[in-house]
Symmetry: C3
Amino acid sequence: MPDSMKTIRKKTGHFLEDFEPGQTFRHKGGKTVNEGLFSTFTEFAMTTNPFAKNARYARAYGFEGLVCPPGLVMLVAFSQTVEDVSENARANLEYIDMRFGAPVYVGDTIEVETKVIGVRPSSSRPKLGIVHVQSTARKNVGCEDEAVVLTWQRKVQVYKHDATAELHAGEVEPDEIDCELWLPAYDPSADYKALSHLSSSDSYFEDFEPGTRIEHSRGRTMTPEHIHLTAILDNTSQVHCNQYMIDLDPRQYVGGQLIIFGGIPFVLCLGLSCPDVGDNALGDLVYTTGRHTAPLFAGDTVFAATEILGTRDHPTRDDLGIVETRLLGHKFVPEVDEPQDDEAASGWKKVDIFSLDREVVVKRRSHYA
Amino acid sequence: MPDSMKTIRKKTGHFLEDFEPGQTFRHKGGKTVNEGLFSTFTEFAMTTNPFAKNARYARAYGFEGLVCPPGLVMLVAFSQTVEDVSENARANLEYIDMRFGAPVYVGDTIEVETKVIGVRPSSSRPKLGIVHVQSTARKNVGCEDEAVVLTWQRKVQVYKHDATAELHAGEVEPDEIDCELWLPAYDPSADYKALSHLSSSDSYFEDFEPGTRIEHSRGRTMTPEHIHLTAILDNTSQVHCNQYMIDLDPRQYVGGQLIIFGGIPFVLCLGLSCPDVGDNALGDLVYTTGRHTAPLFAGDTVFAATEILGTRDHPTRDDLGIVETRLLGHKFVPEVDEPQDDEAASGWKKVDIFSLDREVVVKRRSHYA
Amino acid sequence: MPDSMKTIRKKTGHFLEDFEPGQTFRHKGGKTVNEGLFSTFTEFAMTTNPFAKNARYARAYGFEGLVCPPGLVMLVAFSQTVEDVSENARANLEYIDMRFGAPVYVGDTIEVETKVIGVRPSSSRPKLGIVHVQSTARKNVGCEDEAVVLTWQRKVQVYKHDATAELHAGEVEPDEIDCELWLPAYDPSADYKALSHLSSSDSYFEDFEPGTRIEHSRGRTMTPEHIHLTAILDNTSQVHCNQYMIDLDPRQYVGGQLIIFGGIPFVLCLGLSCPDVGDNALGDLVYTTGRHTAPLFAGDTVFAATEILGTRDHPTRDDLGIVETRLLGHKFVPEVDEPQDDEAASGWKKVDIFSLDREVVVKRRSHYA
């Protein structure tokens, strides 16, 4: 490097003092969903719903083609907000009122905007505070089929850059976002039964009984593949992909190692639950609240369970019902002290990693099988 | 978890006592081949045949576009049968009479049915038995271009769920499946020679001499990527992806670690042999028999060889010939006792992992180069 | 193996004595860029330019759809030459005068030719010599939109197969290759500003000041994924994917382990620099010279910096300017002796891995934002 060169280090992302209630970010990039992304994520998560696997099945139901599973829509939309909202975050505290709209197909381009609706300091940790945002993802902006595909709020714990900077603390109202789950119409003349062998036979609306907990049978071990999975989503947070940064000061980082992006266990739990809960879903309606309760690392094996909290009729469709669930993720870690959960095998301790309150729109057997 | 919740653990897959000769499974899901899947598997296996790489070449020969290599067709079709047939298997014993039909293109949707044609107990191990099945994969069911793309039999060693359950032992005849390899017509006016630099120059029909063994020059080291590769195929068997299950009781599992899905070395051996055997193949006709002879683990490097067992004219096409081969896969493991193969380098022992009797339809130089 | 079988081991690639000035290779295979390849590589490298991410943005500028980023074009084209030129190389010494032409879209098929323009022995190492080649990649050969997409020279250090063989030493003139960067026209009636939030706001032509060095903020840790990444490019060199070959004689190989294909850090450095240098680039004009200065291994974290060497007007377009840069890649390794770079953190030594002199065609803020 010539001595005369002036070095520039650009700041990436925003810090706590940069956020201001009412402020709006139109996020950079945007992302066209292509078949590589679709294949990588749908399959990684072991999703089984045929709308995401079998184009003839999806078209027979009135979709244009393979449908992005809700977890993939969420990951693509959420990741667009990372640089502006959470590149300098310590943790994502809560997902709130995440509602799905239009279906996303291969070829659709997703763009996202975020409004800051709250900023407040941490009471106990002066270098941290909480930013509350509302984000909305649209597809094909400016085109005929422009539509909202997802809207949600989240709360993030963000670092201050300058410990002495003053905050723009306060709150504003979230915007009213018109976002209703699009559902293909029920066609009484269609032969849905001829396709019914392609989805699981015991996950229709009639099969869900409030007060039951389904332990999903499969587990899936994560590997350092998570670095690539995170990059493919345009998630730029360094705690997921920069081992050198961790090595310089491991105590500064959770677990002293690269932490897996929370979107990965989010979508993996959805996938692991899919044969039992999602195989006959026409769509996910809303995730009212969700949070990560422990970090996930390469080498961990992820398991999931679903609690059926309630069921209700669909307000306008007698071929469908709504299942109210809580999706739970867990892993096992080697036990260092006494056992504390009778589900854990000897020497291993169960650790809850994820919880998501989730309402699913499910086909009725009476109409489809 | 509320105390009042009732826990459900669904049984996944079938056990030995569930199988009955004559029974038919129409497998769930189905799979639309997209460009992500195509790219991942064709390239992972180091396939070189230009029909799978170069769309202008494929179209010039009369294909609609890039053609799924036979190994990928096999993997997609086979994996659809795993949940019903082999999720609770100890081992896949043999591939039998695997015959290819119509070509598979990006956008085609594969669906598979399986008929149970034999069930018998193991003579020595009361908890195990052998299930013999016949599976058939069709593309674009219900559409104009519906066609059989692959049909095969296999024998699987399956666990009993209940040691005292009675078996439905017996045999039935396999179905007659109309499955003939589709080949693009030879067009005497086409300038095939103008494309001949795009495939290897020494793998035409005239180049194969019965009684020779070709040691393919390349090796390929497997990594934990196999977990993702298996998931992308919808193969749900837990021995390939659930490390916690292995850790709970390593002695119960082959090698005490995650075992790589047999389809992976299958397609990798096909790929490694491609420059020498498959570069001028118009298609694979039949795999008469095949088996895995040792497990493969992350960290192993796979090599392949092909024995030329015979050659014969194609019954109806004088531009083509049929090469009868045996494809062999091997790896090397650190030697713990005395050397037993002069091909092995000092300190390493060669271990055969795979064998496949394979008939390939190959272009004649006289017509194409 | 029957005793009577004759074993064949085919030689792969060419050795030093096989090269002859003036000789031309029409490389095998060719490669159709599909969405799987596009997604894997664009995202792996953390590319941010919206032309490669957002199809509506790309079309609004006059491209046909998502545009392959220059690093991906380079990787696809370069890899086609590996078997003939560098499968038996010890090292790639230099990239020279790499010039871009037509844009590459998903669906385009790339085919490559190489002319040998120089062969000379190594003065100090009798088993090695230097081959100087000129390669040209075309898309859609024989079709209406056939076009040169990339042309470049490189110097490679190649092994002799037979130490006593005579070389065809000498030089010939490189061919004149008509290869000019295609740029979408500036449309004064277009509302480019309505899209300007989708790229970074501080990387227009007006923002680049000669004499500055931009330290790009992100790092990216490489994993054994590099084996798959190399295979997906059809790069067949065994030093990237055959661990057994390394294990047999580790001292023979750089670092005694699998070395990451140089194209990987090449494209990763381009990607890491993208938010600061490439986000508002319409295209890369030329890489005048480039070289790898240290090997990269799984586990290393890659960082990049860009020195702004100069800026100049575009000869024919007043909406654009040309930024002359030097792209630099580095990693950190644990320090074993005394520190030698004040940028290195305690205990770590900075190691330069890559350098590329690169001219980029960049939009002017005056016209686009």
